[in-house]
Subunit: 196 residues, 2 copies
């Protein structure tokens, strides 16, 4: 197989998905965007799902990894920065659309790979929080899912509501913003625990 | 005009938009879902945008209002509960899709009304935080947008990642969850301020 066709289709698939989601994700749209003949696509993939699935794997879904930097702040800031980086590319939007489509139609009907990604993602997050609790870096009652939702949710919401004319400032402040988000969440988790 | 046609179309429009977004939002799809003849729809609306716009107004976009309950905790819990309620209906998903579509195509190309909603929303939030600061309920450096992104973002992210088999528990715990989210965010805002 010609690797450049694979690459072109993967890139086009993510772009198309980011723009229109599952409802507009067709062989025609992907072929046209990739500049690849439909016959060549049909030779390699027999369903839309297969195209999306290989594109998804090629794009290495970024919400999976919580790196082990030695501190929970370092781990979460790295997670936040990676998310901010991806949101500014089609793959980041495609991820959010996938979550929505899966929510509406169920993982089986849309995209079973997302479920696997989601599960791995939770596992990574739990492991990161577990390490932090063992180090005494977080209180024992810290809830991995709340922290995950808080850091990722805040960033995604902020991005979605950001008007296009403010995106330059958003880009310039990305790294500082990652730290502000994480510091707010960690302060909340630690303070809540101190009160209870 | 027959009000029941208006209502049927508004409801169908929100459902269709929630399912497929702008890419799949067509006169045909809306007419079929509403059980209304296309001619009747064309008599009332000349563009897809007009259909969506009247449906949006009828659905009273809920992320606008931050009620004045007398305490910032009360205000935010009310906001959180209203959001949780809506997310469990097509209108909540339609809102998230609208944010995504607007992000991809710009407000003018998709849905100018969203921009107005977004602006009103920020104004309400700022007013709520301002009241809280004046009451001494929040530190003077509290940032309305961070609080808004934190409460709404956390809830939306949690919802999007919630597997369908856990939705019953999600529904049963909605009110408690609203309080947990708000308490985490407020603890973070207050603790951050105490540190600086």
């Amino acid at each position: 197989m010609d690797p450049s066709i694979e690459e072109k289709v993967a890139e086009a698939a993510i772009q198309i998905y980011a723009e229109v989601g599952w409802a507009g994700f067709t062989f025609d749209a992907v072929a046209a965007r990739a500049g690849v003949g439909k016959a060549a696509i049909y030779r390699r993939w027999s369903t839309k799902m297969e195209i999306l699935s290989s594109a998804w794997k090629a794009a290495q879904p970024g919400f999976v990894e919580v790196p082990d930097t030695g501190s929970i702040r370092g781990d979460l800031v790295a997670l936040a920065k990676a998310l901010l980086e991806r949101l500014d590319q089609p793959v980041g939007i495609a991820e959010v659309r996938l979550l929505l489509d899966t929510k509406m139609f169920g993982a089986d009907a849309t995209f079973p790979d997302l479920d696997a990604t989601r599960r791995r993602s939770r596992t990574f997050m739990r492991a990161g929080i577990e390490r932090a609790i063992q180090r005494g870096d977080l209180p024992p009652d810290a809830r991995p899912e709340m922290i995950f939702d808080a850091v990722r949710g805040m960033i995604i919401h902020n991005f979605l509501l950001m008007p296009s004319e403010r995106m330059d400032v958003w880009r310039a402040r990305k790294d500082a913003y990652a730290e502000e988000v994480v510091d707010l969440v960690l302060a909340g988790v630690r303070a809540r625990s101190a009160v209870i």
